[in-house]
Symmetry: C2
Subunit: 314 residues, 2 copies
Amino acid sequence: MKTCYGGIDLGGSYIKAGLLQKDGKKLSKFEIPSGGGVSPVAVKKNLKIAANGLLEIAKQKKLKLAGLGIGSPGTVKYPEGIVTDSTPNIPGWIGTNISKVFTGIKMPIIADNDANCMALGEAIFGAAKGTNSGFYITIGTGIGGAVIQDNKLIRGSTFASGEFGHMVLKADGRKCKAGHRGCVESYTAVPALIAAAKKYSKEYKKTRLKKEQITTFDIFDAFEKNDRAAKKAVEENAYLLGTAIGSIVNLLNPEIVIIGGGLSLSSDKYINLIKKSVFDYAYKAATKNLKIKKAKFGNDAGWIGAACLNVGKL
Amino acid sequence: MKTCYGGIDLGGSYIKAGLLQKDGKKLSKFEIPSGGGVSPVAVKKNLKIAANGLLEIAKQKKLKLAGLGIGSPGTVKYPEGIVTDSTPNIPGWIGTNISKVFTGIKMPIIADNDANCMALGEAIFGAAKGTNSGFYITIGTGIGGAVIQDNKLIRGSTFASGEFGHMVLKADGRKCKAGHRGCVESYTAVPALIAAAKKYSKEYKKTRLKKEQITTFDIFDAFEKNDRAAKKAVEENAYLLGTAIGSIVNLLNPEIVIIGGGLSLSSDKYINLIKKSVFDYAYKAATKNLKIKKAKFGNDAGWIGAACLNVGKL
């Protein structure tokens, strides 16, 4: 009977879940609504449905499910699994002991912050495999991060580390949703990219971006076709992100930087622009052996990373 | 016979050296010119003079000198002690194997980057004693930093970590000496403080800062006397430094931040302004147990930290 690990990625809208083989191979995955906008009770019910789904699939496939890992938004006390802070997409989630949601399921159950899980997955089986220190970022509606040092996540003294999106990029600059000024997220996350594309679409007569609603798909599609407004928006975004990542490289001098999240899947040219900006900004002493790679697991990063919470304990 | 440790702090102008008791008590210290502006050969000669001085004092005081630690500017490969990069104040220093300078001295000899040493000293015997994770900054002509995680220094994959002064504060902002744009050092180190004080001294009729040459002593003296130009310059400096430190707190969520270097000794009111800015900028989840303290060892931080390179191995 082969051993596998279950991973559950809890989001504000969806739960993604899957089974991972001991060597990191994906065996099975599915997606259900999370009920994040409904109530914490609904979220707990859906987490149990996801867990039972994984148990059922394991049974059918004659696999031994050796542990269950859960990635959750917000600050998660590790290894206890208690949500202690900031989960805007799941109102009322604070105070939940995630590990205790799964009564009746007898196996190691462990929960952690979602970005931490993603970094862990990339470190164990993904783009950072074989490295000792890394910085993982996720670019999407928000900007997240996680730091790995000596093959261990830096979870922080109160489990609140990794807020790369809320590091300063332009002191006294734009106000972000959290009320801070000039942070990385305000200038580089999806809303900022869309706002920049709209702004530049007004500067150029010929652009594919002359419409009311612009999506990131529109922007990267136009970018690949050399649209000037799209190019300007994407280049500016990559330059600013690279500057912020270069800052971290100057501070921590990691072996590898992993770029994940929705935007990372948009275009390899975009990843290369970010890379260039990191190498331009950071010190040569800190970049001489630096590797910068796109995350391996794309949209599966969350549940694969969560599954790794138990793999990592081996 | 009591055991002690020797520490040597190499600077561009001076070498500071001293003996440290096993429990962190200062036993003896002295200062000699380093010859940093003369030649690497002169520096090596002076380092040997310092080491022999420590041996002689130990002999006179009937102490057993159990090890010699050296803190050097630049990137230092640890534990080999080879200088691999960036030492603008000691031209020609790159390539030196510091551990091999002390031929004939039979005891453990170990070298590291100077800011790393200072952080180590504060972690073992100073303001960060008893904590597990900390961020150390030094504010002076330049801005340096060091990160301690799980009671170990993060030296970086190529020993180039800790460049807090060259993290971004205002993207696309002022150019620094290293050719980067908008970094922390350009806005907060001593030259920036003096430039700000000069600028604001022109805005106010009544100010103590109406003179050609302003020193940091003048600025902090006037600041303590509520001079408006000095207040504005110091408050702005503390606000910007606190924003940059708050960024790190959001990323690493350390237990403690230690503020050292020349400027940290200027005024406790200044330290308190920095503290306020850190707590304003950083997330509550990351600051709820955060301690911010002034470094304990002031101008002795360098040699005490260097001595700790051997203590830390116990």
